[in-house]
Symmetry: C2
Subunit: 355 residues, 2 copies
């Protein structure tokens, strides 16, 4: 294992120290428990948006804390859920009284721990809501979660809902918007190589030199299938078709009911993309794939979507939700309306995303 690390037990701690030193104008770092938060939080009257999850996906989430995006982010150890005290303490720290929205990727550990934090925050009189992301069309159930995994759409949700909170949306409107982003988004990822979790010291899985894994998760979970290596165009076709061919997807999610202080079930459905739709297209590197190769993927994706009369209104291209140094890429397509576009275009000022 060759990485820029010191002690495998201090990887996240030392990276957070680097973040604190690099961006004191934007963020502060709490070390016990660990969370990154806006330097100017709490921001009067503004809903706080908090996300988190295992480390190893940087810049998500800590790199997205700042004006116009997240208010706080709670990093676990690499590929390991953060604990409830992280979310609970960060919520207390950044809540302005306008409430806290937890944006949570659908992995069992993350979901349970954020739920517990939500209950603790509610008991303290903090207005709280939780919305899950579950956009990965590769699998329905995996080892790591019940239902689809939350992947690339999380980045777009953090940007869009973060801007809405900045613009004065209240907690319920922020939650509605987050739900809308998630139920209009779909993602698929591929891996060309594995990655190595520092604490394990060896690659998470073996992938022969002439094969790639289709439908990979961001923790190196198994994909849908393995294939002999193909061209960029062929791989992109498989990815885009996996998204376009994904039919209506309905699932039951738990959301917090503040009046009763309990969790209620809600059914949500993603409708398939169709001709005439407008999308934000997000082509993401898993970490080890250089941005140049993402443009080859973008080229073919754009050709395919144009042929289907699906218009790319905006795009995001680069390493934003990664799996350490894994070579690979993911595509996220988010069907957008004017509300989402307006908040996408709004200014953002974070270590990892700025415009």
């Amino acid at each position: 294992m060759k990485k820029f690390i010191n002690d495998v037990n201090n990887v996240v701690k030392e990276q957070l120290e680097g973040v604190a030193r690099a961006h004191p104008d934007l963020v502060k770092v709490s070390h016990d428990p660990k969370y990154v938060y806006r330097a100017d939080a709490p921001v009067s009257g503004k809903v706080a948006i908090i996300s988190g999850g295992g480390s190893g996906h940087e810049p998500m989430h800590g790199g997205f804390v700042g004006k116009g995006m997240l208010t706080a982010a709670c990093p676990g150890e690499v590929f390991t859920s953060p604990t409830p005290d992280q979310m609970y303490e960060s919520a207390k720290k950044v809540d302005s009284g306008a409430g806290v929205l937890f944006l949570v990727k659908n992995y069992t550990g993350d979901v349970l721990n954020f739920q517990e934090a939500a209950e603790l925050a509610h008991e303290d009189g903090i207005k709280v809501q939780q919305v899950l992301t579950d956009d990965d069309v590769a699998v329905k159930d995996s080892l790591y979660t019940a239902g689809r995994r939350g992947v690339g759409i999380t980045v777009l949700a953090e940007k869009i809902v973060g801007a809405a909170a900045e613009a004065g949306y209240d907690l319920d409107k922020c939650a509605d918007l987050a739900r809308k982003v998630n139920t209009n988004g779909r993602s698929i990822g591929v891996a060309l190589t594995s990655c190595t979790v520092p604490a394990h010291g060896k690659p998470t899985f073996d992938l022969p030199e002439d094969e790639f894994e289709f439908g990979i998760g961001i923790h190196g979970e198994p994909g849908r299938e393995r294939h002999k290596m193909k061209t960029a165009d062929e791989i992109t076709e498989m990815m885009v078709n996996a998204i376009l061919d994904d039919g209506p997807y309905t699932r039951t999610v738990k959301e917090f009911d503040r009046s009763s202080g309990s969790w209620v079930e809600k059914q949500l459905t993603n409708e398939p993309l169709k001709t005439g739709d407008k999308v934000i297209a997000f082509v993401n590197s898993m970490g080890g794939t250089p941005v140049s190769e993402l443009y080859a993927i973008y080229r073919k994706m754009d050709q395919m979507l144009t042929a289907k009369n699906i218009k790319i209104e905006r795009n995001l291209i680069g390493p934003f939700i990664t799996s350490l140094e894994m070579q690979g890429a993911s595509i996220t397509l988010l069907k957008v309306d004017d509300e989402m576009l307006k908040f996408w275009d709004a200014p953002v000022h974070t270590p990892g995303l700025k415009w």
Copy 2:
């Protein structure tokens, strides 16, 4: 070789097609000869800043074309110099009459080809100047160039001089500023892995699983020395010390004299960094190293500089001058004054850098 490519002969062409599709609001692409240029060029009254070099270092240079940075960029094939017709044709395309500054990394092929293009442009009545970057403290001479190689400072020069051109600096003032940036900048890089040039199909060099290369160039040129793998802190110490210990460095460069239409020699000197200096610190991924690990490097670098009373005024952290999918990192320190800081802070709007 596993990459997102189709035909090894079309790698750059197809990536440029992707860029053109992704960023039509910012850039246009000429395919014969190949160059990327600002969608709104020529910009009335503004000096044009043109750079270029082998591909494989993205987002540099094509990703830095746009408002506040480059006016055009000329990509060669991967790790191969562009040809004079690319620079010459791009200069004709984007010159507003205010002249063209060629910002050229010090590699023999690049230097000769940009010189020839400068002469052609001059014969056409275009006001032209050329400034070299040569900031790599690792080696004095290498296989690829006479003198030091141009590396990370090029990104900072493109940002700062691009902003100055936007603010109305004339050609000579832009050239002076570019020279000042270069003679106040120093860089050093390390590689943990090799990279694979698509046309070769196998790694440029072999690096055992327990070794890293110190002082690597961006084309995988040999470094100063190989070492057994070390911790992030130890490697960062070697890098920062290589920059801090670099004494005055004097070299002779050729610059274009427009009155005589010929090249004249000029001596330039970098003074060592000293206590009390202010710097922009740029921690760069060579492509395959994830941004999380860059923060471990930043942490140690900041500790060392703070101890020397050298103040980091601004920073840039991420993959900006890469070597395909190589794992590794570089540090660039630029001693700054108020003029440089003002232009560093000015707005920039390109595919690869935005604020």
